[in-house]
């Protein structure tokens, strides 16, 4: 284990057994993430992205190899690494404020007032002061995801794990939230691992992209994005990376590679 690695996966593999059959979902995954990095995992549906994220977060344990977080082997979930779920994972029976406070309630050292203050701070950070007393059902999808982000931020975790956080939003809302995420990260310097199947999103947000292949899930290619931040979605450098990835998935029109090969 190297000293400077913040998250490290060592030849990690994962098998599931369902109805007597064993399926190999992940195979031989190794990578390290440095402190301060924003890493995206890009791959098709079912290639094992969520499984990988669950292993990093300690929600599941690897069949082979091991996962280290800040030098310690990951055994179970911890408040130091907070997961953002695809369907936001808000408690529908709590208001925005109460949802954000939820993350702070297990910290017994905080007084009620301190808790409230810290929750309000992170609600402000995502721009939802106005809606702090509304319930999740009264918010749009984009606003709900902001609440989830605020809850994660309030805990001040060392690592944030995001599982397709913007996939359920429409393009425009997605763009807004991506910008906002970058904006917040500039201030808070969070370490983030983001899982996505959206090529633009991966390029727009991350320092490094792990491109995955399926059956079994493995890392096919690693791509460093060397663009200044903030990036321009319509800039030609952006398009360079876009083409690189499209090519790697055979989506550019450079031959008859298309046809029905889904």
């Amino acid at each position: 284990m190297k000293a400077e690695a913040f998250v490290e996966l060592n030849e990690v593999g994962k098998e599931f057994s369902a109805q007597g059959k064993t399926i190999r979902v992940l195979s031989n995954i190794s990578f390290t993430m440095k402190k301060g990095e924003f890493v995206s995992v890009l791959g098709k549906s079912g290639c094992g992205k969520s499984t990988l994220l669950n292993l990093i977060g300690g929600f599941d344990s690897p069949s082979e190899g091991s996962v280290y977080f800040d030098g310690e082997e990951v055994k179970k979930p911890s408040r130091r690494a907070i997961m953002l779920f695809q369907h936001y994972g808000l408690l529908p029976w709590r208001t925005v404020l109460k949802n954000v406070e939820l993350g702070l309630e297990p910290e017994k050292s905080l007084s009620t007032a301190e808790r409230r203050e810290r929750a309000l701070d992170s609600i402000k950070l995502v721009g939802l002061e106005e809606s702090k007393d509304r319930f999740p059902a009264q918010l749009s999808g984009g606003m709900q995801q902001r609440v989830a982000i605020a809850r994660a931020l309030a805990i001040r975790p060392e690592l944030i794990l995001m599982d397709e956080p913007f996939a359920a939003l429409d393009t425009f809302n997605r763009y807004y939230l991506q910008d906002e995420l970058l904006h917040i990260r500039e201030q808070e310097k969070n370490n983030i691992v983001l899982v996505t199947h959206d090529i633009d999103e991966a390029i727009y947000l991350s320092d490094r992209i792990l491109i995955m292949d399926a059956h079994p899930g493995r890392i096919k290619q690693t791509l460093e994005i060397n663009l200044p931040s903030p990036r321009d979605r319509s800039h030609s450098d952006f398009q360079y990376y876009r083409k690189l990835i499209l090519d790697s998935f055979h989506f550019s029109k450079d031959g008859a590679t298309l046809e029905f090969n889904i």
């Binding site: 179970k76 997961m83 994972g89 408690l91 529908p92 029976w93 709590r94 319930f135």
Partner: protein
Amino acid sequence: MKTVKHFTIAFILVLVVWQLVIWIGGYPEALLPPPLAVGKGIVALVSDGTLFTHVQISMFRFLSGYLTAVVVAVVLGLILGRSPKVWAIVDPVIQVLRPVAPVAWAPFIVLWFGIGNMPAIVIIFIAAFFPVLLSTVSAVKKIDPTYLKIAENLEMKQPAQLFKIIFPAAFPYIANGLHIAVGTAWIFLVAGEMIGAQSGLGYLIIDSRNALDLDLVLAGIIFIGVLGLLLDKAIGLFERWVGRQWGVQG
């Protein structure tokens, strides 16, 4: 307003059909009393105040049995829903006990709980207990695993998890169980008030039936029906009220 209109139409239609059945079938009043006789019976019951006493005592028995059942069944259900191994043992026992009519237990109910209020309360308890328990257990099992993962992620400890996550997450299904249980438990009021009770709507029906006063039997049926409907609406309102507290659209 619209509901009132529909109610009135339905009411008139029922009266007409009922009277027609009597005219066409030529039934004697002792066997099938006409609406008018039942109406008179109702007026008599209301004006001498007996009705009020019957309703009061029946509601008392019902609420005692029902609320105790709800509390016990929900608490047990929350625990059993989170302990699959214990549930695996308890489940078959419950599956076998559930289909047995509360009346069949009558001899043992008398043995343990005596007569009067208790048998009615116990029978209503039994009738409400199983649906609430089963719906609570299945509600707990059906909780979105994301919620449990969040609790784990936040390192939430056990009693907090139960009260802050599991109970509210399961509540909508539990509420559904409560709703169903009101209906089924109320049906057993009559059965419950057959064992040594000397008052209540069930007793009114049994006693009038004993005295061959079928007009009062029908009056009793109507009151049981209307009160059952009101109880159902009341719990519906309660559900929606909780829903509103929790920001879920009614």
